[in-house]
């Protein structure tokens, strides 16, 4: 039960506590005055040096990844400009070819297919039976099951072949049976000649892989994981360096013990991927080292990475 006295005491306490928290009362002043532990300069230096080395190692690893990405493709950074140039060349040559085709195309054909129409329009025209009629000579016998004489994927040269005289009559009455050969033209729609918009497609990939390679989280995780190894000589240099005075046994056990502590830390931070990688490395280095049951249980409970069974 709260009494009036308690309330007063609480209010007093709150004011008192606020002064204590702000460091304005006598007790907090005394607390500030007591001797406090401070990191030894040697420890400071060690931590700073390790951080610097680790950052450098990370930077060089990133550079390596970048170089690798460039080396992986012999074209390297020229891929994008080359793709662009190729697009332009293809586009221009197609344009010229198209123009040449139109110059040699009879007016009769222009009646059926709009001038400047691309292959898609040609296909459309074919689909409604105009173009097959050209090939059948315009003698009105389109109904016959005539095999398509022209290779489908190259419609433009084929269109130039028919004589002009036979075009007109054929175009005038589009006989229904002329629809039969239409599939011959319509079928090759998929392998149609390269349309101008198509070439940009290969130009896109050169941009995307580079950043994703450089920023791939897996690569970063790997570097951090190496640093997480308790033996910083291994972590920073990326290779094992025999310590001067370390005679296997005790030092090795100590390293293993610290490694296990770090593994526990990774699990606490829910860095499962890192923990899994570190655990694999630990087992490579210490296949027989005993692991505390609790830690072992937590490690066993880690979800397995895709395609990587836990050790």
């Amino acid at each position: 039960m709260t009494t009036r006295h308690d309330d007063h005491d609480h209010d007093y306490d709150d004011g008192d506590l606020d002064a204590f928290l702000r460091g304005e009362d006598a007790l907090s002043a005394e607390l500030r005055g007591i001797e406090q532990p401070a990191p030894p300069p040697a420890l400071d230096a060690r931590i700073r040096a390790e951080a610097e080395q680790a950052l450098r190692a990370s930077a060089s690893a990133a550079n390596d990844a970048e170089e690798k990405a460039l080396v992986a493709s012999p074209l390297g950074r020229w891929r994008a400009p080359l793709a662009l140039a190729a697009t332009v060349v293809i586009g221009v040559s197609l344009g010229l070819q198209w123009k040449g085709w139109h110059e040699s195309t009879p007016a009769a054909l222009s009646d059926g297919v709009p001038l400047g129409a691309g292959p898609a329009v040609v296909e459309e025209a074919a689909a409604i039976g105009k173009l097959p009629a050209l090939r059948e000579g315009g003698d009105g016998q389109a109904a016959a099951p005539a095999p398509a004489p022209v290779p489908a994927p190259v419609p433009a040269p084929a269109l130039r072949e028919p004589p002009v005289e036979r075009v007109r009559p054929a175009l005038a009455p589009p006989p229904p049976p002329a629809l039969a050969p239409a599939p011959v033209f319509a079928a090759p729609a998929a392998p149609a000649p390269p349309a101008p918009p198509a070439p940009p497609a290969p130009a896109a990939p050169p941009w995307s892989p580079a950043p994703s390679t450089l920023l791939a989280p897996d690569a970063s995780v790997d570097r951090y994981q190496r640093y997480a190894s308790p033996d910083r000589r291994v972590a920073v240099a990326g290779r094992r360096v025999a310590p001067a005075a370390d005679t296997a046994g005790a030092i090795d056990a100590r390293r293993a013990q610290r490694w296990l502590v770090l593994l526990g830390e990774l699990l606490d931070l829910h860095l499962d991927d890192d923990a899994r990688t570190s655990w694999s490395r630990f087992r490579e280095d210490y296949p027989q080292y005993p692991v505390p049951p609790e830690l072992q249980r937590r490690l066993d409970a880690l979800p397995a990475a895709a395609g990587k069974p836990s050790p």
Binding site: D13, D16, L17, F20, L21, G23, L27, S28, E30, L31, R32, G33, I34, E35, Q36, P37, A38, P39, P40, L43, D44, R46, I47, R48, E50, A51, E52, A54, L55, S58, A59, A62, P217, S220, V221, Y224, Q225, Y227, A228, R232, R258, V261, L262, G264, E265, L266, D268, L269, L271, D274, P292, E294
Partner: protein, 190 residues
């Protein structure tokens, strides 16, 4: 006048590989973190080890840092977890270590050759050390974080996983107990 970058800005820069940002973060927080570890660690020999491992773990975890959380809480949480792990591994060491830590603190004060004017201060300091160590663990932790490491109430709450009011309450109890203990010591001396 240029304003100093926040811890969170520095942490993001450090995440991207900026060594100067790390140096600044270390300058700001190494002393507070070391105090926290020292007061919280049951064994003196663990302190340097935990300190070093905490910064190494920070380096490893920096890519996961997001500016939405306090950097200080992030850092202290790493050290706190490490200590908890160590203590969990062998509770016997923890019990044995308490006395080792106490003895070390007392020895360091006793070894100090000071003039007579400093005698009272040293005695008072020793009394405070003893009174703080006598506090329940949760109250001691809150007191150390607030008074010695300079964390705000909400940061301590986030670190300890308790509501801010609970932390305030712990601090209130700690403050009362310390005052009572110091008053008792003073009356005994008188």
């Amino acid at each position: 006048m240029a304003t100093e970058p926040s811890d969170e800005d520095l942490a993001l820069r450090y995440r991207d590989g900026d060594l100067a940002a790390f140096e600044e973060l270390y300058r700001r927080h190494s002393a507070g973190l070391y105090r926290f570890i020292s007061w919280r660690s049951p064994r003196r020999e663990w302190v340097d080890e935990v300190m070093q491992d905490s910064w190494a773990a920070l380096h490893q975890a920096r890519s996961r840092y997001v500016a939405s959380s306090s950097f200080r809480t992030f850092l202290y949480q790493i050290a706190r977890n490490r200590l908890i792990d160590l203590m969990r591994q062998d509770p016997r060491l923890v019990l044995a270590g308490d006395s080792v830590h106490a003895a070390t603190a007392t020895e360091s004060l006793a070894d100090e050759g000071t003039p007579e004017q400093a005698l009272d201060a040293r005695q008072q300091s020793a009394r405070l050390h003893a009174a703080i160590r006598a506090l329940p663990e949760e109250q001691r932790e809150a007191l150390v974080l607030q008074q010695f490491s300079g964390l705000a109430l909400d940061e301590i709450a986030a670190l300890c996983g308790a509501p801010a009011e609970t932390i305030k309450s712990r601090l209130r109890y700690a403050m009362r107990k310390l005052r009572a203990q110091l008053a008792l010591d003073t009356s005994r001396e008188a």
